[in-house]
Structures are given as structure tokens and as C-alpha cells.
Assembly symmetry: C2
Homo-oligomer: 262 residues x 2
DNA sequence: CGGACCTTTGAAGACATTCAAGGCCTGTGG
DNA sequence: CCACAGGCCTTGAATGTCTTCAAAGGTCCG
């Protein structure tokens, strides 16, 4: 099986082979709290026919409702997923039964790699809001990878990115105060929204305080207090889940030095 | 390029192809604090000729001295590594300059995947004691993977394992007390030594208290105090870096329930 | 032997948690 | 449409765990 045509650009994969035509792509975001409307994959040069195929692929999966699951811990590993619009939280259950949030995923980001090692997902992934995801069957991707080397390479890079992200979180959890953790999370989300060409200062948090606190290894109360503190210091304007970053530099400084005058 | 013969068993790879003969293997441990002497790869059915090749490959890399580096943060990504004997610590430098230990690796374990994403290692890896590692050039592995699908699959699994390990650490860091973290680390090391057919109760920690504390997001003093506490409770016998686990069940209970009577 | 480094131990203090209560929003049913 | 229940979020005070600061004992290696 040889590829007639394939395009790889960052996280987009569009492949045509003589045997089968597979379009594995995920679009720019549609519309949601953090998203703007945009056309599918057109910048990658898809023609109308390809677009239909893609639409077909995407339409088959109707948007997930808030708290609806994509896969559950223990499910057989079949696919990886890309967020098209909305947001996803992934979490695992500790041996002692507690839930541990392991990641938040925004449009353009890929999740589900954790299931590869022993062919069962370790995490459960659920939608935080109305969310559409693109399912990418691993077997198909694997087949393609066997004939198209650069796809394999690309996949490996994507997995490795997950490792990098996890290790950043480890560093954050291990060596930082509550203020630093929260500043860091906000800046991270801000940066990731920029990639969607959204405002980097006005953002809407799809997750609850409880989910943030769990992710950062804190309690709900602490998260609330720190956000309150940041607001008093005019670093942020907080209105429930709407956050406006007023002084990004202050947050950056806080993240780095941990020193601050009251 | 087709493979005439290749054997994959857990983390061992031995491959022969018509074009080139590549033996990517790492042996059972030689001898060190935590190791027993053992023959190379013989259980996998290598003949004398293969064994010579393997020896050659391995001998070329002389053992690392304690604190000697395997690769450094920022180096171009070329290879992954398997620990043959000894132990490795990997760590990265936070934006604020602090060191953060991201993993300890024992014989049979593979490290270096973190460099794949952007072709430069994120972590620095150094030997904790006299250590020998097996370098596995990624390009060769990649080439082979292109002709032998199951190797690709195997590689992906190995990478995914790293994700799983990192996520376990995240859960540990986020939701546990100092006692739980340390109990968990000791049990983890104990389990990994069993895989080398070593005692699961008597173990020798190759890393310093400082490295443990950094890894677990604690201070040196806390680690020392908790070990002291465990010793007083007769869970452990601690003699510097030698640890004997006296009551494994107590540690397990501690890890799970967090409840304990004084 | 001396010095550097690691480890242990103590006491004081800081930071985050726990416990407790009240406010705010949402959705439901009367 | 309003009332009410149940979440979720915030705020306060007390507690506790871990850290910080300080000092002393050990170990390794020159």
C-alpha cells in the first residue's frame, strides 16, 4: 500500500492511498466559549470531495454533552482523539479510589495515548462542556504508518509531547507553592488559547474549581483563596469561570521567583 | 529490507536483516549493589556469534562513573537508552533554575523518550552509581520499524509506558502525604527489583535523600523524618542507603488508606 | 586529620488543609 | 413565576503538616 498523497502539518493528517482513502483530520474550532467559527482544514488544500469525506467522518460523531465520556479507564484501546471544539478532562482512579485529574485538553490537542502500553486506557476522558472530538482509529493509523514512514515519526512525536506535558506537570506539582501552581496553569491555558487565535488575556475556564484543585494537588478552598488574592492584587479579574489576565508579567514573575511583596 | 530473524521479549530486541545485522539488546544485570551476575541474553537463544556482536556493542560503551552524564538537556536527540546495570536519574531544569527529578531508572528500564518530541532531550540523565547502559540509536530503530511493523508497535508501547509512569507520579505528587509518597516509592522500587529476581525486601537506594525529596516534592528533612518514623514503627530497618522492608503490608495500607494509629 | 557533603534531629514558623457556615447560581416542581 | 433544593464557590477560624532555620553527628576522601 503506497500513499498517493498525504499532508502532515502539525496535528493534521490527511492521507490518500491506493487501497483506501482515509482522512484523519481535525478542524479548527467551531464555536464555543473559547472558540471562533472557522472552516475545516481548507488551508491544507482539501477539495470539495475531501471536505465531504471529512464532514462525514466528523458528523458521524455528534457533539459530546457536558460530562459525557469519550472512553473509560479499562476500556480496550482503539483510538486516539483530537479535540475539535470544547474541552476534555482526563483522569485516573488511584489505587485508593480517589480521582486524579491528569490533563485538560483544548482544541487542537490530542489525548488517549496512555492506553497504548497495555492496550487498555488508563484514564477516563470526559467532556467538560459541549465538545466535539475527532476519533482517530489507532489501527488505521498504524497501518498507514507502516507504509508511510513520516507518519510514524509524526505519531511518535505526538506521544512524546504527552510525556513532555506530563513532566512539566510533575515539576509544577513537586516544587511549587499554591500561587505558583495556579499562576502557571492560567498562563498555560492562556498560551494554548493563543494557538487558536483567541485572546490570550480573556479566557473562560471550562473546569470547576474542584477540578483545578485536584489537578494541581490543592484543595478547593485554596484555589478560591488564591484567585481571590490575585484579584485583590489586580493580577486578574475573576468572574466565576471568566478570567481576565490584567498583569501577565506579575504572574510570570510569581511563577519564576516565588518572591513577592505584600 | 526484510527481517530474517528478530526476537522481541519485553524490553529485549534482537534483529537480523538481510541488509544489516543489528543487535539491539541489553543484558541481564552484571553486578552492582542491586544486581547479581548473569549471562547476556542467552535465554533469548543467541548463538556465540551473536553474543560476540552483542559484547562488541556493549563493550564499546564503558561503564559510566557515578554522576557521569548520558545526555544533557538540550542535546540533540539521537538515541534511547536501556539500563543494563546500575541506575540512572533523569531530571530537568525548571524555568526558574531549580532542578526537578523526573525519574529513576533501574536495570531493564528504558529512558530518553522525552527527546523525541522536538528532537532535543528535555531531561538530563546521569548515573547514580557505576552504571552501564545500552545505547539504541533511534534512527536505526526507526528504519527497522519501517520494515518490521511489530517493532514499531513495541516501541510505541515502550513510550506509552513512560506516559503511564509519569501519570502515576503525578497522582502520587498531587494527592498524597509525605508518608504515603515515601511508602509508595519504596514499594515501587521493591517491585522493580523483583523483576530482576532480586530480593523484594532488602534493597539499596542508589539515590541520596536529597534526590528522593526532590523527586517526591518534599524536603530532605521530611524524608529523613519519615524514614525515621517508619523505622520506629518497625516497618523498615534503615541503615543509610540500605533498606530492609519489614512490614510491606503496613506500607501498602498506609499508601491506600492514609489512616493509621500512633 | 580536616573539610566537604550528606544525614539526622530539634524548635519555630509558614502555608495549606480541615472544618464550618453562608452566599450565589441553576434547574426543578409547585 | 416563585420557591426551594442542591451544586458550586467563597470566606473565616482553627488545626496540622511540612518547611524553614539551626546545629550537630556521620561518612567519605583528600
Amino acid at each position: 500500500m503506497a500513499a498517493d498523497r498525504f499532508i502532515i502539518e502539525r496535528d493534521f493528517l490527511i492521507i490518500e492511498t491506493t487501497v483506501k482513502k482515509i482522512i484523519v483530520g481535525f478542524a479548527k474550532p467551531l464555536s464555543c466559549h473559547n472558540c471562533r467559527m472557522n472552516n475545516f482544514c481548507l488551508p491544507l488544500g482539501l477539495d470539495a470531495d475531501d471536505l465531504d469525506k471529512l464532514e462525514e467522518l466528523i458528523e458521524r460523531k455528534k457533539p459530546l454533552q457536558p460530562r459525557e465520556g469519550v472512553f473509560f479507564s479499562g476500556d480496550p484501546f482503539t483510538s486516539i482523539y483530537a479535540v475539535r471544539s470544547g474541552s476534555i478532562k482526563s483522569f485516573c482512579i488511584d489505587p485508593d479510589g480517589r480521582e486524579q485529574v491528569t490533563g485538560f485538553y483544548f482544541p487542537g490537542e490530542i489525548f488517549g495515548w496512555d492506553g497504548l502500553a497495555d492496550e487498555h486506557y488508563q484514564n477516563t476522558a470526559i467532556a467538560l462542556e459541549t465538545t466535539s472530538v475527532c476519533e482517530i482509529p489507532y489501527e488505521q493509523l498504524d497501518d498507514l504508518g507502516n507504509s508511510i514512514p513520516s507518519i510514524q515519526k509524526h505519531m511518535m512525536r505526538l506521544i512524546s509531547r504527552e510525556i513532555n506535558a506530563d513532566q512539566r506537570l510533575i515539576a509544577l506539582l513537586a516544587g511549587n507553592s499554591a500561587q505558583q501552581k495556579i499562576a502557571s496553569l492560567l498562563l498555560s491555558i492562556s498560551d494554548r488559547l493563543v494557538k487558536q487565535k483567541l485572546s490570550s488575556t480573556r479566557l473562560w475556564l471550562p473546569m470547576s474549581r474542584g477540578e483545578i484543585s485536584n489537578y494541581l494537588g490543592l484543595t478547593v478552598e485554596t484555589v478560591s483563596r488564591v484567585l481571590g488574592h490575585f484579584q485583590r492584587k489586580k493580577y486578574l479579574a475573576v468572574n466565576k469561570k471568566e478570567i481576565e489576565i490584567l498583569d501577565k508579567q506579575a504572574l510570570r514573575d510569581l511563577m519564576l521567583s516565588a518572591e513577592e511583596v505584600e
